[in-house]
């Protein structure tokens, strides 16, 4: 009995110390958000954030970020798998390409996209065929995919790398094809990392501002996402901007929390089995 109690005691001390060490960053991350919430009195919120404009911007943000996430998962998963399981010449270059959007200032990324897909680039050809990309909702999604997909790819790659090669080999030996092995063995085992990456990418897409503003513009109802609405409001109406920011924080926090809870519950039996 005694050693167990001592061990628990030691664990408790360790937990207390760990918690204490974790607190500074947690407080630093939370304090500005709490400050934001504290400034948003119900009166301010009612007068500024519950209007049509805010609801439209929020919906546009949620929809575009979700589409950007689906696109990132579809086109990002093969990249992550490829980087995780194959060695080839120039791999480090590909690796760095994935990192590029993380270091590129978003507004510079926006101009790069504008130059490529706008009238100066292939946009003029697309325009002749009736498709405009720049300054449309499509540009919002494209800007978000450009900025957010590396977050998913990096996590997914780490997840795929952590799946033991023997398990994939065993699956193949038992007669499963590559697709079946991927969907029944690799993906379920990496599901935690895939999820974490998806959550990160969605959150990043939701908060995307600079690239979207330059590439897609700020047309209310069409390309004015929540972060852009926060910015345009801040120029002349700070309380409105704060109310919008609070709304975005609360909604995205709730969505992330629920998504995590729901998905982890679904994923655990899979990963465990």
């Amino acid at each position: 009995m005694a050693p167990a109690v001592r061990a628990t005691g030691r664990n408790r001390t360790a937990l207390a110390v760990a918690t204490l060490l974790a607190l500074p960053l947690l407080i630093y991350l939370l304090a500005p958000i709490i400050g934001l919430l504290a400034r948003t009195t119900p009166h301010i919120w009612r007068s500024y954030a519950c209007c049509w404009e805010a609801a439209t911007a929020l919906k546009l943000s949620l929809i575009t970020a979700s589409i950007a996430l689906v696109v990132s998962v579809i086109i990002g998963t093969p990249v992550a798998y490829w980087l995780a399981h194959y060695t080839f010449r120039g791999k480090s270059v590909v690796d760095t390409v994935i990192d590029l959007p993380l270091v590129l200032p978003p507004s510079a990324a926006g101009f790069a996209l504008l130059l490529l897909f706008g009238s100066q680039g292939i946009g003029s050809w697309l325009l002749q065929h009736g498709l405009r990309i720049s300054l449309t909702p499509l540009a919002v999604v494209m800007a978000q995919v450009f900025i957010a997909s590396p977050f998913y790819v990096k996590q997914a790659r780490a997840g795929f790398e952590a799946v033991p090669a023997e398990l994939r080999l065993a699956s193949a030996t038992l007669g499963a094809g590559p697709a079946r092995t991927f969907f029944r063995v690799t993906a379920p085992l990496a599901s935690h990392a895939l999820l974490a990456g998806a959550v990160m990418a969605w959150a990043r897409a939701l908060g995307e501002f600079g690239a979207t503003l330059v590439f897609a513009g700020a047309f209310p109802g069409r390309t004015e996402t929540m972060p852009i609405a926060i910015y345009t409001a801040s120029t002349t109406n700070l309380p409105a901007s704060i109310a919008l920011a609070t709304t975005l924080v609360v909604v995205s926090f709730a969505v992330l929390l629920v998504a995590r809870a729901l998905l982890e519950r679904r994923v655990r039996p899979l990963a465990g089995g």
Binding site: W52, A55, T56, K59, L60, L62, I63, S66, I67, L69, V70, V73, T77, S107, F111, L114, L115, G118, S119, Q120, G123, L127, G130, L131, R132, S134, L135, T136, P137, F183, A187, P188, S191, L194, L195, A198, L213, V214, G217, A218, F219, P220, G221, R222, T223, E224, Y231, T232, A233, S234, T235, T236, N237, L238, V255, A259, L262, L263, R266, V267
Partner: protein, 277 residues
């Protein structure tokens, strides 16, 4: 993986029906489709306006009023920094109307031949003022007070922001530039940032525009600067060279500069008549 995608799709679909109502009037048809459509009287016309973000509230009100009076005409507005907007407009060779936050950007647009010469009109005037905390706790009565020891001042950066050039010029005209610079603790990179410095209490005073007071009426008071020191600037508007609806664009510009249009800007705190003197 599969299940996860389904949840995401579900989220998307949950959000979709609500969104349709809000965005469908604008969502149909890309700007390109409209700009290429031939403007006949019966056909609906869609104008694209690039508007400085500081003018968003009055501009949106003007848009709503104009669209109500002119069924079939839609004015799509995008907002942002005046420089970014000019870049977007010229890179994309699109848009019918350019309305930057101050006249120096219109000068740039004219130099780049992005707007049609002779279409420039004035929507509102920007009158330089000293902006102080509500109630003027430091008792600032004029430019000379900004040089008072212990006072903190914020200025827009000359060379970067139109307001910065105006502030520096006013102080130089008053012979106070060197003295006031000693009190300057920060230079702002935009008009909005300059206004936020005083609104958030970071400084005791900034040199700003008269409209700043209206953006935060319960935080900011203004102290006039004698007109011999400070030249007012303007919020201009002009028709883009890329416009494919010049007639319709001109009619909207006429509306902005009409009594009705000016009343909207006046309501939002802008001077719509040139200051006397």
């Amino acid at each position: 993986m599969g299940k996860f995608s389904w949840v995401v799709l579900l989220l998307v679909f949950l959000a979709l029906p609500g969104c349709g109502g809000g965005t469908s009037p604008n969502a149909t048809g890309s700007p390109a489709a409209e700009t290429r459509a031939r403007p006949t009287r019966a056909e609906p016309v869609r104008l694209i306006a690039f508007v400085g973000s500081a003018s968003k509230p009055p501009a949106q009100e003007a848009k709503a009023a104009y669209e109500k009076q002119n069924p079939g005409v839609t004015v799509d507005m995008t907002f942002g920094g005046s420089g970014t907007l000019l870049q977007q407009m010229t890179l994309e060779k699109t848009g019918d109307i350019y309305m930057p936050g101050s006249d120096d950007y219109m000068d740039k647009a004219e130099a780049k031949e992005a707007v049609i010469p002779g279409t420039r009109a004035i929507v509102a005037y920007l009158v330089p003022m000293i902006c102080v905390q509500k109630g003027n706790p430091k008792g600032i009565t004029g430019l000379a007070d900004l040089a008072r020891p212990g006072l903190t001042v914020g200025l827009a950066e000359a060379g970067a922001v139109c307001l910065g050039d105006v502030s520096a010029q006013s102080l130089e005209n008053a012979g106070l530039l060197a003295a006031v610079r000693k009190n300057v603790i920060t230079y702002a990179r935009s008009c909005e940032q300059t206004q936020q410095l005083v609104q958030l209490g970071e400084v005791d005073a900034v040199i700003g525009w008269d409209a700043f007071q209206q953006w935060a009426p319960d935080k900011i008071d203004v102290v006039p600067i004698p007109l011999e020191y400070a030249r007012p600037r303007t919020i201009p508007v002009a028709i883009s060279v890329y416009s494919t609806h010049r007639g319709a664009a001109q009619r909207f510009v006429d509306f902005l500069t009409s009594t009705e249009g000016k009343a909207i800007f006046s309501k939002h705190g802008y001077s719509v008549e040139p200051p006397p003197g």
